[in-house]
């Protein structure tokens, strides 16, 4: 019993650790790819590991208040918790009925922690940045909620693990509900704060916004947080629309299935990330109210169309996965 529990705990720790490592690697790859787009050589792909190491080794000579000290930990812990709810390559750490809805709330925790710390620093740039970040969250959640609704209606479940199973047995979300997938990808760009939606951290406007007062160890922790959230957000898309990368059923193939699924999942999140990075490289950024208008217009319309499609397919055409 205890051994099982320990193995379980070890696996969870391993998966979370790997997620953060993959996130840092992805950040490095993004820098390299962006550099190639910009006619440059770019840093080595492991650059971000060095950066995090350096930041964590730096001395800290800032002192604001305990909320400020606490915020990076809060953000990092929040993102790890959210990651634990997401199946990575079909491996479920925490799960339960209705965790799709729960996840939405958990995903807000790190952002809130981040906002709390930035607000505690009392820097006006950070304040503006936090305001923008919350506004942006409000914008992309509208289409995203509609997409989730479409999925829940079509697959008739609010549990992520059931969703994965049904996607494996029936069809992946991107095949069944392509319109919703498009809307979700648009929302994902804002969720990851890539251009044209990197409004909260715009360096030319508000000197990197909420990050403005964070330095040294704080920034190192926040970098780990953003590495985790890259994996979190890409995995969310992969889990919802690409079957979580599950190609082999673990019930039949056992450990091999986990390894293969993990690799497939890795390839999928890499593709989703690369799409975001390439869009990021060739777009300027919106103003916040333009982003808001954009999200409540096009992605919302697309998401509603996707919802109608899901409704027609499941209710009138009787397609039941």
């Amino acid at each position: 019993m205890i051994v099982d529990w320990l193995i379980q705990a070890g696996l969870v720790a391993l998966y979370l650790f790997l997620a953060v490592v993959i996130g840092l690697l992805f950040m490095g790859i993004a820098r390299k790819v962006t550099a190639r787009v910009q006619n440059r050589v770019g840093p080595p792909v492991y650059q971000n590991f060095l950066d995090v190491g350096k930041l964590l080794a730096k001395k800290t000579n800032i002192k604001h208040n305990w909320i400020f000290d606490f915020a990076p930990l809060f953000a990092l812990a929040g993102v790890l918790l959210a990651l634990a709810y997401l199946p990575m390559g079909g491996y479920k750490m925490l799960s339960g009925e209705g965790d799709l809805i729960l996840l939405l709330y958990i995903m807000a925790i790190p952002a809130l922690g981040f906002a709390l710390g930035a607000g505690a620093s009392a820097n006006p740039n950070a304040g503006v940045g936090v305001m923008r970040a919350l506004m942006l969250m409000l914008s992309y959640e509208m289409p995203f909620l509609l997409v989730l609704l479409a999925l829940m209606i079509f697959y008739n479940t609010a549990s992520l693990s059931t969703l994965l199973e049904k996607q494996m047995s029936f069809a992946w979300g991107i095949v069944a509900l392509p319109i919703s997938a498009l809307a979700a990808d648009l929302a994902l760009q804002g969720m990851m704060m890539e251009k044209p939606f990197d409004i909260p951290i715009a360096p030319h406007e508000i000197a990197s916004g909420p990050l403005v007062e964070f330095g040294g160890k704080y920034l190192g922790m926040l970098m780990l947080y953003s590495a985790g959230s890259i994996v979190l957000e890409t995995t969310l898309f992969v889990d919802l629309f690409l079957g979580g990368g599950v190609v082999l059923n673990p019930a039949h193939y056992g450990i091999i299935a986990y390894v293969v699924n993990y690799l497939v999942w890795f390839v999928f999140i890499f593709i989703v990330w690369m799409i975001a990075v390439l869009i990021n490289a060739v777009f300027p950024r919106f103003r916040i109210e333009q982003a808001f208008k954009f999200y409540w217009k096009w992605p919302t319309v697309i998401a509603i169309l996707g919802l109608i499609q899901a409704y027609i397919m499941s209710v009138f055409m009787g397609v039941v996965p």
Binding site: V128, P203, A207, F283, F286, R287, I288
Partner: protein, 375 residues
Amino acid sequence: MKEFELFVGPQHPGITGNFMYHLWVDGDTIVKAEAHPGYLHRGFEKLMERRTWQMNVALIPRICVPEPDVNEAVYAMGVESLMDWDIPERAKYIRTIVLEMARISSHLLTIGGYAGAIGLYTVGQWTVGDRDYLLDLFEQLTGARVYHIFIFPGGVRWDLPDGFLRKLEKVLNYLEGRLEFYDKLLFANEVFFRRAPDVGVVPKDKAIEWGVTGPNLRACGYDYDVRKVDPYAAYPDLDFEIPHYPKFGDFDVLGHGCDCYSRMIVRRLEIEQSIKILRQVIKKIPEGPHTLKLPNPLAWKVPAGYAYARVESSKGEYGYFVVSDGGKMPYRVHVRGPSYTHGINVTETIAKGLNIADFSQTIFSLDVCAPDIER
């Protein structure tokens, strides 16, 4: 809601150089802006009074760092006016080459900086990388990348090196090809269309009165250009157009002029015109001496009097008011930089009511060059 204060600069990515704006912000809207120059003040006008007429040639390029050559040209023209010198034709053409190359390189830098201000770093990387080809040409011509000290009262320092014009032609062809890439990425970008038009508007009827010059004035719909209005160097012999709102050729006319969009499109079109000018110069450049026979440099005395010379820099009208009392050193030189009005008065006025997200792109599109404000 209570107002808060925001400091843009001197340490801030959204500022062109070492300069500061103090903003009072209500929500997202700027209610008051105040410019604080002086971080780059070196006392040029004082230092020039302590140096001989010739020594100053080495000092003045440092007044405007992104485009130093206009300083040399305008100073040389001021001294020539007082000395009553007619410079040789070939020198005029060589000056034109230098000035137009400087204009292209400065515009490339501005376009890159502007693209960075709205978040498109790729264009900045490309333009600044391509600008280096021009700097290489400058290096071949003058021996330096940034401060060339090449245009001299009486002509230019030396003649064109062998093969320079051929190389220039090559670089021009390359740049012309690259312009398409900038067009695709920035000037045809949907987000740019949404962000730039009708932002940072200088009222058209006030523009001249406020002292707006150069591309910023042309973006308001006037076709005034010192190269046409008060021609100098070889410009009277050359055929070129003055791009201005709303004559944007292949580009869409969005907004109502005088805004960030028009200013950037005007700059983009001016690069094309500069390439055209340089091609004509390559064909037309006459043979002959590159400089007058200069008097003994130790005993240069400039007759007493006042003179004003102006050229069109990439930022606007650049002028020197030169006063001599007949001595070996200038009695007084007053530099009229275009950014002096753009950076302080115009920005302070048009910033009111601007969104803070648009402040940076406004000052980048006005092409405020901090060192020529405070000198």
